[in-house]
């Protein structure tokens, strides 16, 4: 496959960036999107140019490091992570626009890499269980009803990639925050801190400068892990209940 890429290039956080055009050839449809960028970078290095900086780690769709808005869609046209996106999703001769996540809470560090530590601080505000849990306990020690376990699992799937923020016209982190709030809130281990967790995490979310929810649903459409839009609904309920309790 032969492709025209228009890639966001930006030297560092302090400088202005712009889209730069590149041509790549000999791309196999079986390559992942990141492997295609590897090809581009080899090409750039050979010609003495600065390679394109982009985030990646596991390349297995489980770590949440990869990002990229491809043709206006977070993680590209399929519902998966950029590392799991295959080039067969595109046509020979296509022009692809590749941009970083856009949100004021996710400033661009270089090229396609953004600083997502705002997510870490939301987790630090309450996305955990305070009691030391030690090694994995015997599974039957604390019975969890099957529907609750399923619900927790569905939300535990969030990999913290930030595609929801990138896709949201308000740069909101509601889907991410709700995934963690719901995951822990429904389990017996997380229940004691249920009310303070949602209040602290939402307040940190606001402090980081993320926007509010206007229920456009773009986040849930973009989420590679299928966190449902109703997670936000559920978090809203948790929040109002916790605010009433005042803790």
């Amino acid at each position: 496959m032969r492709l025209t890429l228009r890639v966001w290039r930006q030297k560092n956080a302090g400088t202005e960036g712009a889209m730069s055009p590149y041509e790549v050839d000999g791309i196999s449809p079986d390559m992942s999107f990141l492997e295609m960028l590897d090809v581009l970078n080899e090409q750039l290095i050979l010609s003495g140019e600065e390679p394109v900086a982009f985030d990646h780690d596991c390349r297995e769709g489980i770590c949440g490091a990869c990002s990229l808005v491809i043709n206006g869609e977070a993680h590209g046209p399929e519902r998966t992570t950029t590392c799991q996106l295959r080039m067969r999703s595109f046509q020979d001769g296509d022009t692809l626009d590749i941009e970083p996540w856009r949100a004021s809470a996710f400033p661009v560090i270089k090229d396609l890499v953004v600083d997502r530590s705002a997510f870490d601080r939301i987790i630090q505000a309450g996305g955990y269980i305070t009691a030391p849990t030690g090694s994995a306990p015997e599974a039957h020690a604390t019975p969890v009803p099957k529907p609750d376990a399923d619900f927790a699992f569905e939300h535990a799937e969030c990999i913290g990639c930030g595609a929801c923020v990138a896709a949201c016209p308000n740069g909101a982190a509601m889907l991410f925050t709700s995934a963690k709030v719901n995951h822990l809130g429904v389990l017996p281990q997380g229940a004691p801190e249920r009310a303070s967790r949602v209040l602290d995490m939402v307040s940190q979310m606001d402090e980081e400068g993320f926007g509010g929810c206007t229920l456009t649903g773009e986040c849930a459409t973009a989420c590679p892990k299928g966190i449902p839009l109703f997670s936000i609904t559920k978090m809203n309920r948790e929040f109002v209940q916790a605010a009433r309790k005042g803790r």
């Binding site: 228009r6 966001w8 889209m19 808005v69 043709n71 206006g72 869609e73 626009d97 941009e99 856009r102 949100a103 004021s104 809470a105 309450g126 949201c168 016209p169 308000n170 740069g171 909101a172 509601m174 303070s196 209040l199 602290d200 939402v202 307040s203 979310m205 606001d206 400068g209 993320f210 926007g211 509010g212 929810c213 206007t214 229920l215 456009t216 649903g217 773009e218 449902p228 839009l229 109703f230 936000i232 609904t233 559920k234 978090m235 809203n236 309920r237 948790e238 929040f239 109002v240 605010a243 009433r244 309790k245 005042g246 803790r247």
Partner: protein, 230 residues
């Protein structure tokens, strides 16, 4: 704030983006309830000046003898004023936050959410402006040449005998339909009552409410234009 004293419930709500949506939802639903009643009341115009003007008079004496003349009406007006102010203030503050949170647009544009979703802000502004005109036109009569207090039937026919009266009113009612269509469903999510199993019901209710309100309100100017009411 962990461990320390936390602000009271109301404060927590108002200071948070999630809580402000709760305020929007509740105030929106209060206005929506009022609009349903208002729309049904308006339909009395089809039964002639006697019934319509009598109904308007009754609005002033509801609750008597417990309530004094116009007390109930003023109570409703105060509740609505609080709702409008709370709704518009949170809409303004949330919109500012949203725009600030996403200052850079993507170079590659993509078609976005549904029409009703995208028009909430502009639609809301249109409704706010309409509300001011509507009150000055048919409540106080300030911008209504030849306004006759106590003769609402005549005043209504008057307004809808002008082209601008019809245009302003019908545009605003279409905006209202769109606003309610996304707003009702949104409010359910903001209040945490939406779910996968209830979604069909909520979306259908939103559509029906939007349609009934718009058709009900618009039927009045259309009736005047077509001389069904004169």
């Amino acid at each position: 704030m962990r461990g320390g004293g936390r602000a009271t419930g109301g404060r927590t709500l108002w200071d948070s983006s999630v809580g402000k949506k709760t305020v929007m939802a509740v105030s929106g639903l209060v206005m929506l309830l009022y609009l349903v009643v208002h729309m049904i009341g308006n339909l009395k115009i089809f039964f002639g000046p006697g019934e319509f003007d009598h109904y308007a008079h009754w609005l002033r004496v509801v609750g008597e003898p417990f309530m004094h003349y116009e007390w109930t009406l003023w109570l409703v007006r105060v509740v609505l004023l609080v709702a409008v102010v709370a709704h518009a203030t949170s809409a303004y503050q949330l919109s500012r936050r949203d725009i600030k949170a996403r200052p850079t647009k993507y170079v590659h544009k993509k078609r976005r959410a549904s029409y009703a979703t995208r028009t909430m802000r502009w639609g809301g502004i249109i409704l706010g402006l309409f509300l001011v005109w509507h009150l000055l036109d048919l409540t106080t009569g300030t911008v209504h040449p030849g306004f006759r207090p106590g003769h609402p039937y005549r005043n209504v026919v008057d307004t809808f005998s002008t082209w601008y009266g019809n245009v302003l009113y019908i545009v605003a009612m279409l905006a209202l339909g769109l606003h309610v269509r996304h707003g009702f469903w949104s409010a359910a999510q903001s209040l945490g009552v939406g779910s996968r199993t209830r979604d069909r019901f909520l979306k259908t209710t939103a559509n029906v409410l939007a349609l009934v309100l718009t058709v009900g309100f618009v039927s009045v100017p259309v009736a005047v234009m077509t001389q069904v009411v004169s």
